[in-house]
Symmetry: C2
Subunit: 347 residues, 2 copies
């Protein structure tokens, strides 16, 4: 399935052109309080053509991906006079683009939306794939749709507005793209000395294009696309666990941790070489602080709720080597997760 | 766009075959308390192949098409172990099929669902068109998706389980199908002496096929499909008004009333002949009891929220003659609505 266009060069010009051809439509901006303050002014300065606009703000953070906030935004859209021809521009990180995509794809059975990702994570991950979603009682992205935005506008200048730890969050998805599909991308990433916009900006487009190529071959995750879930089975469960326990832990930190733990399981299953595993672990350890893991059994219920599961098995995609992930999911046991946790604690 | 298959003859056999080819999947039945008691036993008796099933019941009635009930059902699906491969079978009237389709199309970004409409209205109207939806603060179907069921299973025997007034509700959509697109269907319907399953069952398939042909030409309501909204601009607003005032009034009664009122406006606009209008009114008056209308201005805010509106105009599709609705929406004024209300009150 053809994915929405992702613009890097002249991205704002493309957006301006779109707005000019839809000048009779109401534009609704969705932001959080941070992107409202730091990103929306940059964006609006580039969009002189807008005639009829409204701004809807949601609180920043994962908690906004809730049914209650979605309901509030649907009501705001309704009250602000959004109709089927209105256009929603989601300006923010992955929470804003996932959430805004879901709200747009279900409001009056679907209105057009555009994503302007402002975090590294949303640029390299949420910008492609047409996944929209909100959480159900802290189970991540349980409710959502597959809906394409009209376009995705990527401008690395927004990264200058981000706190450093947000770089860590997006960087994990870039590492994953290298690990699952492109050893050269991996090699470029591991050479990076510090995670700053200057070092990262030149690699964003390559990372997005890896994901885009995968998704275009398998838009609804029947086969190949499953490789994008590398690190995410255990990563998502840990992310939810820490969220439930009010421990600050970004999606990317969870994915980086998940990549180590799942790669260890791949070694136990004799699927991945120990050499490759050690390289993966050393690169991730270079950037990411070690964390205290809960007991494996504490995340079992969360592992059982993974959307990728079929029936009662915990399913996971694992690396065959650096640069290649096997798309065929394998069952992993809680005992294997437990062993991987033990290894991580002791190394 | 190809619509989902709608089975009439051997409908249960088709459903059985589907279940046999998905025998490893969990089947989740969605019902309300009435269809749980009266329809599900009939359905299950015909489906001996089911191995793994669960039943989720929602309260009957329009109030169930809420975000709160949707959230409860998403949680139930999650707790009962539904995964991406599960299949939801919606067994009920339009509330159950609209609601169940929405819940299915958004649970884990979409699971397969099958509609088994049990009311005349859901057979002739909700069975085709891929519209799913719930209400937002009593604004009907503000939240929803366009998603095809896997199949629609129509068995007129379910009509025997229905109270008489439910016949009135579905019959209005059948009348509309004749009025907008097929003068012969209209002629057959106006000959009916009493609205019972025996008289109606033979006409259901023809009525469904009119709608299906329209929808297949214009699945997302860009052009021709708008004719299916005949009677619905004013009809929907009145339906919501009566619902808000705890007055029992079915969707079909609202549509029948909307057809009279909008046809009167078509006469005022010199689009429809007085002869045709009088024939329409006399046929509808034969079956539907006269009701007390509110003041036109009381439904103005509801008219303004119609999903079909663009900008601040109230838009409406109107008949050119019996058997032909003009798909180009026209603006109607509150003054015209007021005049139509006056006419209805006095005739």
């Amino acid at each position: 399935m053809k994915q929405a266009p992702v613009y890097f060069e002249n991205a704002f010009a493309q957006l301006n052109e779109f707005i000019q051809t839809h000048s009779d439509k109401k534009i609704m901006f969705l932001v959080d309080e941070n992107t409202h303050e730091y990103c929306l002014p940059i964006l609006l300065a580039e969009l002189p053509e807008i005639q009829d606009m409204e701004i809807i703000e949601i609180p920043s953070g994962e908690d906004s991906k809730s049914i209650e906030i979605a309901t509030q935004v649907w009501i705001s859209l309704s009250e602000l006079g959004a109709d089927r021809n209105s256009i929603i521009i989601n300006c923010g990180g992955g929470v804003v683009t996932d959430f805004g995509g879901f709200v747009a794809s279900t409001f009056k059975r679907g209105v057009k939306f555009i994503n302007v990702p402002t975090s590294l994570l949303s640029m390299v991950d949420a910008s492609v794939g047409a996944k929209t979603g909100i959480n159900l009682n802290h189970l991540k992205n349980q409710i959502g749709t597959f809906t394409q935005p009209e376009m995705v506008v990527i401008n690395p200048d927004f990264l200058l507005t981000l706190p450093d730890k947000e770089m860590l969050s997006g960087f994990a998805e870039m590492l994953k793209h290298g690990l699952i599909q492109d050893v050269n991308h991996w090699k470029q990433l591991k050479k990076i000395s510090a995670l700053n916009p200057e070092n990262l900006a030149p690699l964003i487009q390559a990372s997005v294009e890896i994901k885009k190529a995968v998704v275009e071959q398998d838009p609804t995750e029947k086969g190949l696309r499953k490789i994008l879930n590398a690190g995410h089975t255990i990563g998502h469960a840990l992310e939810t666990y820490y969220l439930d326990h009010q421990i600050q832990f970004t999606h990317g930190e969870a994915v980086a941790l998940g990549l180590i733990l799942e790669s260890y399981i791949a070694v136990m299953k004799k699927q991945l070489s120990l050499n490759d595993f050690e390289e993966i672990k050393s690169v991730i350890d270079k950037f990411y602080t070690k964390v205290d893991l809960p007991k494996a059994e504490q995340i079992l219920p969360l592992l059982m709720h993974d959307k990728k599961n079929v029936g009662k098995e915990i399913q996971c995609v694992l690396l065959d080597k650096i640069g290649f992930c096997n798309p065929e999911p394998v069952n992993i046991s809680i005992a294997e997760v437990d062993l991987a946790f033990d290894f991580y604690r002791n190394n």
